[in-house]
């Protein structure tokens, strides 16, 4: 139990990135294999977190505590509960996928590219496992830097605009969070321990202010309507790997923040402001669904689809039921797999055609049948078809929402119609129909490496869709505990 698996999950990728950088981009063969080894090692050290996890216990496990800045009582305090543990695994798994996805495609500065992803992976694990507010903030901000570089260096033509927009948006939000963290630090008499903050009695006004400060920060990250416009730009310009990490992991940080900070620290404000949160979530689900429908760029379409799906997640949190919160967490993990797969599919086509415009495609199934089959599975999962992971989370949230209020559930269910419309319409226009573009006629089907990546994700999507119990089992105790905590007033 005391093998410091969380520290390993954070520091194996970060320290492993150093030799990758030192190898330099000339030795491409070595760089790739070393990066893959580090990513696999990083994933391997997270497995004991799942195997050794005590599902009956609601509290933090694998806790590590070392004084960090003793003068201010800051600690290097790590730990995971059933809510955060799955995300550490998801993140480390996606890192392996991303390294494989950048195997041949990245031609310039490959060592730096791989190192940026490895470092980011470690930092993300830090965010999910930090239990010290200031340590959390450090990881949260530090993770912006590799992402900024990935978009800004390996991105498309408008990469600098997109990278700066991404950076400014998220930084602006997190500055308010820093204010809230410092206020909590002082209010709790000099403790930065998040678990102490959970127990801190607060009046209604401070709770609302704290809630809003966290909301601004996390809403940008999720992203919630109306602070979502950085995401389509960032996705379109980011390289495939960047889009994958952005969609699969970075978006989850905001949603995770709500369950780790907003709900338990300001439970009364959460209840008070829940109608606002539900309204914003439903706006995201419906408004963004319509916007996704008319996109002509595939990456933009999937980016908007991500916003819509994340609206579901925030909706699930603020209906305060076990179904809602567990459904949201399942939806987050499932969306990690599906959005990663969708962006990889678009990346595979982009590598061959250098276009993301739907109008440039048509009839891809004739030349890439194996690819078309995978793309079909992931499109269906994005729609939320039963037996795929997309269904489980959406079903739980809709069920929870209908119990909460019939019309809220009804509005949320609109996403199923809209999701089917925009995803399947895109699939039809890209994959079926006659070949109109001569370049499509010259396409070659996916090779072994691409097959492996998509197959791994397909297994995850189907496994989670057919048998979600291993995922919900680990969350159950922690979610119950959270709900009990949120139900008790702090006033």
């Amino acid at each position: 139990m005391n093998a410091n698996f969380l520290s390993l999950a954070i520091w194996v990728p970060i320290l492993g990135a150093i030799p990758v950088l030192l190898l330099g981009s000339e030795r491409r063969f070595l760089v790739r294999w070393l990066a893959l080894t580090v990513a696999l090692a990083g994933f391997a050290v997270t497995l004991p977190l799942y195997i050794g996890f005590d599902t009956t216990q609601a509290g933090m496990q694998f806790v590590e505590q070392i004084p960090w800045v003793p003068r201010f009582n800051l600690q290097y305090l790590l730990g995971v509960d059933g809510i955060s543990m799955p995300f550490v695994l998801l993140n480390s798994f996606i890192t392996v996928i991303v390294v494989l996805a950048g195997w041949k495609v990245i031609e310039k500065k490959q060592a730096q590219y791989m190192a940026a992803f490895l470092i980011m992976s470690g930092l993300m694990n830090g965010i999910f496992s930090a239990l010290d507010g200031i340590l959390f903030y450090v990881f949260f901000e530090a993770s912006l830097i590799p992402m900024y570089l990935i978009i800004g260096v390996w991105g498309g033509p408008k990469r600098v605009y997109a990278a700066i927009k991404f950076f400014l948006y998220t930084l602006l939000g997190s500055l308010l969070m820093l204010v809230a963290l410092i206020w909590l630090f002082l209010a709790s008499g000099g403790s930065a321990n998040i678990l102490d903050w959970h127990q801190l009695p607060l009046g209604m006004t401070p709770q609302i202010l704290i809630f809003i400060a966290f909301l601004v920060s996390f809403a940008v990250k999720v992203p919630m309507w109306p602070v979502h416009t950085w995401l389509p730009d960032a996705h379109v310009e980011a390289p495939t790997g960047g889009s994958v990490v952005l969609a699969a992991i970075a978006l989850k940080l905001g949603a995770y923040g709500f369950v780790r900070f907003s709900l338990p620290i300001a439970p009364d404000a959460s209840h008070y402001l829940a109608p606002l949160m539900i309204a914003l979530s439903l706006t995201a689900v419906i408004y963004i669904g319509f916007v996704a429908l008319v996109q002509t760029d595939m990456k933009k379409l999937v980016a908007y689809s991500s916003i819509s799906h994340m609206g579901f997640v925030t909706l699930g949190f603020f209906i305060f039921s076990p179904l809602g919160i567990e459904g949201s967490l399942v939806q987050m993990i499932s969306h990690g797999f599906i959005s990663a797969a969708m962006f990889l599919c678009i990346g595979i086509m982009y590598d061959r055609m250098h276009s993301r415009q739907i109008a440039d495609y048509g009839g891809v199934v004739n030349t890439m049948p194996r690819f078309a089959a995978f793309f079909m599975l992931f499109s269906m999962a994005n729609v939320g078809l039963p037996a795929t992971s997309g269904f489980v989370g959406e079903f739980m949230v809709i069920l929870g929402a209908v119990k909460f209020n019939f019309w809220v559930g009804m509005a949320a269910a609109v996403t199923l119609v809209l999701g089917a419309a925009y995803t399947l319409w895109m699939y039809k226009r890209v994959v079926f129909g006659p070949i109109t573009n001569p370049h499509v006629a010259d396409l070659s089907d996916i090779g072994f490496r691409e097959f492996l990546i998509l197959a791994l994700l397909a297994v995850c999507v189907l496994a989670m869709g057919l048998y979600p119990y291993p995922f919900t089992e680990v969350m159950h105790a922690s979610v119950d505990n959270l709900l009990k905590h949120v139900a008790a007033s702090k006033l």
């Binding site: 109306p226 416009t229 408004y287 319509f290 916007v291 996704a292 419309a421």
Partner: protein
């Protein structure tokens, strides 16, 4: 014969769906995208706030001429205003 055409076109239900529901949804989507996302959020709120800062900076830039006599004149005005307030206070 009109009956045959009506039945052959399935009471025009497919056409109705394509024009009203699908077309309407696309129209709404385009309106929200261009009008909401691009014009209102990105244009007015995001880039608009940046423009306001830039415009304001351009305005106050004009005050920073670097001429010492203009700064001195500003100070004299300030002292005059302060003294006026001071002597007329209740």
């Amino acid at each position: 014969m009109p009956l045959y055409t009506l039945l052959d076109n399935k009471y025009y239900f497919d056409k109705f769906n394509a024009v009203v529901f699908a077309g309407g949804a696309r129209l709404l989507g385009r309106g929200l995208w261009k009008g909401g996302d691009q014009a209102l959020i990105d244009g007015f709120m995001v880039n608009g706030s940046a423009h306001v800062v830039g415009w304001f900076a351009g305005l106050v830039k004009k005050l920073q001429t670097g001429y010492i006599y203009q700064y001195a004149f500003g100070m004299i005005l300030g002292v005059a205003a302060f003294l006026t307030y001071w002597f007329n206070r209740i």
